[in-house]
């Protein structure tokens, strides 16, 4: 998947409405009232006295009184006013917070107020830096120097103007009296601290992305305008409604559940990185961390969606499903998600791949969905689109949610995870440490690197797929057919099939069915069909694989060792018909190495199977061709027969399932 450039300019160049600005201006105007506003005091400097200085505690007290709020909230409100630039601190001018003591602040002049319609221009900043350069005789702060050099490079064509204007503004400023000059310098500096913040500080003027429509422009009243309003009201009438008692109840429940988990509403262990600049919280909660935190694990118990949406939770669940041998459900769900959210160009091949792996009869990781859904899905797959697998995906999701999720929460896997989960201690940083933290801030890993890591992870997972975890209806013959989709599956099918058998003894496994005679006949039938269609590939493959038939034979002998005669015969009985009807004409992935099955047991077993008359075969589809002589010859080799997707072949399969 390519990395998309998220910031695509679709003509977005209008700053959004910033409602807080107009509201703050009103508050500020109220503060100016000589009777009910803030009381100011003069600021005594060495040479002069400058009036209209206000103390932090006065501001907080006034806000608390005016809005009837407690001091903590008044303090945050005051800090917001300072951060936006309406009030600036006289001491410690770089930290834009309100200190609830006698530190002094002053109001900013309306020209320097933040506005939505006048963006802060780089030209003005360049002029300011040039003026500052003059005043400080060339000694600028580091970030100012960087900005200066950058602006000099990018605004070079205007640089004469900037220098001239800086000098003129400097001279014009000197025309005023000394106290006013001081005030003006402080004002301008405060303005630029807000709009070009020094590194290591957070700016309150972040407003997100620009908008396409100018919020300041008036909308023209045209027939289109009225039409839009009409459509909107009609849709509002038709909207389905929920009783407020129900919706409020849901909201209350949600808040109660998630209250402790919200890092802004309650404590965040060890500490909230946005507040303390310490990133332990993020490192502990990374997607692929070994040991999750207790809070995270607790979230997994809230709902199934929470479990799946958390990568670590999903891994845990996958591990559990692996132990239960129903990992194909999750794999199918993930594959559907991939299809939904992936590129449009790859939809067709992904859909085919999914069909071959999960949906087709005899697929290696066959999932259990009901007949109707399967029908709908297969029909839809003829013309695949993003949401073609939605019904199947929903079905599997609900299956997992109702069935596996409950068992997962009681399973030893989960209990183990809960036991091992860590609960970090809370950080207690002193002010000095906080400052140090803010200086030590570093950018996180580049998203390009993260994306690469993700892709590697995914490739690794795809390579390690335990395709050997066959479901009950898969033909577990460790046959040598290989899917066109999968390339290398080094694991042997035999041992899992053995364990699989042990797990499901009652399963009328079509394992037996997947023996020589039937499989070969099937194979030949398929080949025949393939030939009938004029599919040259199958023919060629079949021909080419004759040489491998010997090896296949011996392999099969080895691998069949696990099947007990009992199950074999049981499976041969006609009542297994329905159960096995969905099993495959398709052979699962062949192992490269023979399994560890004991070689001794195979002989008799093998011979028994050979004598079974073809009528006992369970597969309904291929019943015609029975030449058992040719079965040896036409043993399929690696990649002999591909799964034919129904929309590829003209022959329709009698899909059941």
């Amino acid at each position: 998947m390519t990395i998309r450039n998220t910031l695509q300019d679709h003509g977005q160049r209008y700053r959004p409405r910033m409602a807080c600005l107009k509201k703050s201006e009103k508050v500020l105007l109220e503060m100016q009232d000589p009777k009910t506003g803030l009381k100011s005091q003069p600021q005594r400097l060495v040479i002069t006295t400058i009036p209209h200085a206000i103390t932090g505690e006065d501001i907080i007290a006034w806000l608390a009184d005016r809005f009837q709020i407690d001091t903590q909230e008044a303090r945050s409100f005051g800090s917001m006013l300072v951060a936006l630039g309406y009030i600036y601190p006289l001491q410690d001018h770089k930290r834009l917070v309100i200190k609830p003591d006698s530190s002094l602040y002053r109001f900013q002049t309306p020209y320097f107020w933040p506005t939505q319609q006048w963006p802060v221009e780089d030209t003005d900043y360049a002029i300011y830096l040039a003026k500052r350069n003059i005043r400080k005789k060339g000694i600028l702060e580091l970030h100012e120097q960087e900005h200066y050099n950058r602006l000099h490079k990018w605004m070079n064509h205007k640089w004469d103007f900037i220098v001239m204007q800086a000098k003129e503004q400097y001279r014009a400023a000197k025309e005023r009296k000394k106290p006013d000059r001081v005030v003006f310098d402080c004002q301008e500096r405060a303005y630029w601290v807000v709009h070009r913040p020094p590194p290591g500080t957070v700016t309150a003027m972040d407003y997100g992305l620009d908008r396409q429509v100018d919020p300041n422009s008036d909308e023209a009243i045209t027939p289109d305008f009225y039409e839009r309003i009409m459509i909107f009201t009609q849709q509002s009438i038709m909207r389905p409604r929920v009783k407020s008692s129900v919706s409020i109840g849901a909201l209350v429940k949600y808040c109660a559940t998630y209250n402790n988990h919200d890092p802004f509403l309650s404590r965040c262990l060890p500490s909230n990185p946005w507040v303390t600049d310490d990133v332990t919280y993020w490192t502990l909660n990374m997607p692929c961390v070994e040991i999750p935190t207790k809070m995270r694990v607790e979230r997994w118990t809230f709902s199934f969606a929470e479990l799946l949406s958390d990568t670590r939770g999903r891994d845990d669940f996958r591990l559990f499903l692996k132990k239960e041998f129903s990992g194909e459900n999750l794999a199918f769900w993930e594959a559907c998600e991939d299809l939904k959210w992936g590129e449009a160009a790859s939809i067709k091949e992904k859909a085919e791949h999914i069909y071959k792996t999960f949906l087709a009869r005899g697929a290696p990781r066959w999932i259990n969905i009901d007949g109707k859904t399967m029908e709908v899905t297969v029909k839809g797959l003829k013309h695949p689109h993003r949401y073609v697998l939605d019904p199947a995906q929903t079905h599997i999701y609900m299956l997992m949610k109702k069935d596996s999720y409950g068992r997962y929460q009681k399973s030893p896997v989960f209990k183990d995870t809960v036991k091992k989960a860590i609960c970090p201690d809370e950080h207690r940083f002193s002010c000095a440490q906080l400052e140090q933290n803010s200086k030590k801030r570093r950018p996180s890993l580049s998203p390009i690197i993260l994306r690469q890591m993700e892709q590697e992870q995914r490739a690794k997972m795809a390579a390690n797929i335990d395709i050997t975890q066959l479901c009950r209806f898969t033909t577990p013959v460790p046959h040598l057919a290989v899917y066109s989709g999968f390339t290398d599956y080094p694991t042997a099918t035999a041992s899992p099939s053995l364990t699989f058998l042990a797990h499901t003894p009652a399963c009328p496994s079509p394992i037996s069915v997947a023996l020589d005679s039937t499989s070969v006949s099937e194979r030949r039938t398929e080949t025949g069909e393939g030939e009938g269609e004029g599919n040259p590939a199958a023919r060629a493959q079949v021909g080419g694989n004759v040489s491998k038939s010997r090896m296949a034979l011996s392999l099969r002998r080895l691998l069949k060792g696990g099947c007990t005669p009992g199950t074999m015969f049981a499976s041969l009985s006609p009542k297994c018909h329905s159960a096995a009807s969905t099993s495959s004409r398709i052979q699962p992935i062949s192992p490269d190495q023979p399994s560890q099955a004991p070689p001794r047991r195979t002989g008799n077993f093998f011979q028994i199977k050979v004598d079974i008359p073809p009528e006992c075969r369970i597969y309904p589809i291929e019943s015609e061709d029975e030449e058992e002589e040719s079965r040896v010859a036409s043993r399929g080799g690696v990649g002999a027969k591909e799964i034919i997707c129904p929309w590829e072949s003209l022959t329709t399969q009698n899909g059941t399932g």
């Binding site: 105007l29 100016q32 009232d33 506003g37 100011s40 600021q43 400097l45 060495v46 040479i47 002069t48 400058i50 009036p51 209209h52 200085a53 006289l90 410690d92 001018h93 002053r106 109001f107 002049t109 309306p110 020209y111 320097f112 006048w118 221009e121 030209t123 003026k131 350069n133 003059i134 005043r135 005789k137 060339g138 050099n149 064509h157 205007k158 640089w159 004469d160 103007f161 220098v163 001239m164 204007q165 000098k167 003129e168 503004q169 400097y170 001279r171 014009a172 400023a173 000197k174 025309e175 005023r176 009296k177 000394k178 106290p179 006013d180 001081v182 005030v183 003006f184 402080c186 004002q187």
Partner: protein, 246 residues
Amino acid sequence: MGKDECKTMLDALNKVTACYRHLVIALGSTSDSQNLREELKKTRKKAQELAVANRTKLTSLLKDKSISKEDRAEYERLWVLFSSSMELLEVDMKRSLEIGQDFPTKVPTRHFIQTGMTGSTTTVAARAMSVQNMKYEADSNIDTVDLRDLQTEITQVSQMMEEMEMKVQVAPWAVEAKQEAGAELKSNMSVGNSSVGVISICEEEPKEEEGGGSRDSGIASVCAVFVFFVIIAVAGVLGYLVVNMS
């Protein structure tokens, strides 16, 4: 020569733009008053006259096809100077309209923002108008009347700028500046003394280097005063002895 004329006119425009900006900054604060509005009006008018004059001169120079390449480059540079000045002027005018509407002078319930600036801006305006003293003769309702004029003037300026862009084909990004980085430090000799004073009283935070400067200068002044008194005391003692002796 055309170039020198242009340059002097551009300097004048530059000066007026800078002064206008200072005046607009004072709008809405406690140093606002009726006089300020009048100053704004006068400065604006002057700026517009200069702008028109500059524009005609520069357009005639640039339209002349027979000039040399270096001349053309120089005129283009002057043109960029002119257009940047006009941009600043336009923005300042629009903002002064906004702030002027928000802070009418005569409404008693509407209070100015207590910014700490209390002095008047006469000197700035005088500098802009290039006169010694400003004369104020406007009526009391200048703020409302003026705002209407201001709106028309803003539209005029916007139109002028659009015309400029259409008629004159100058690529602003192709112009190379003559001044290098840090050029503002060189020619301004009067920077030195008074600015130190400005820095020292700007804050009282001991952590800042400026605060350090303030503390140093504070200590220096205290020491100076102490030395002064010591000398006075010594002089007094000596005088007393002289008087006693005689």
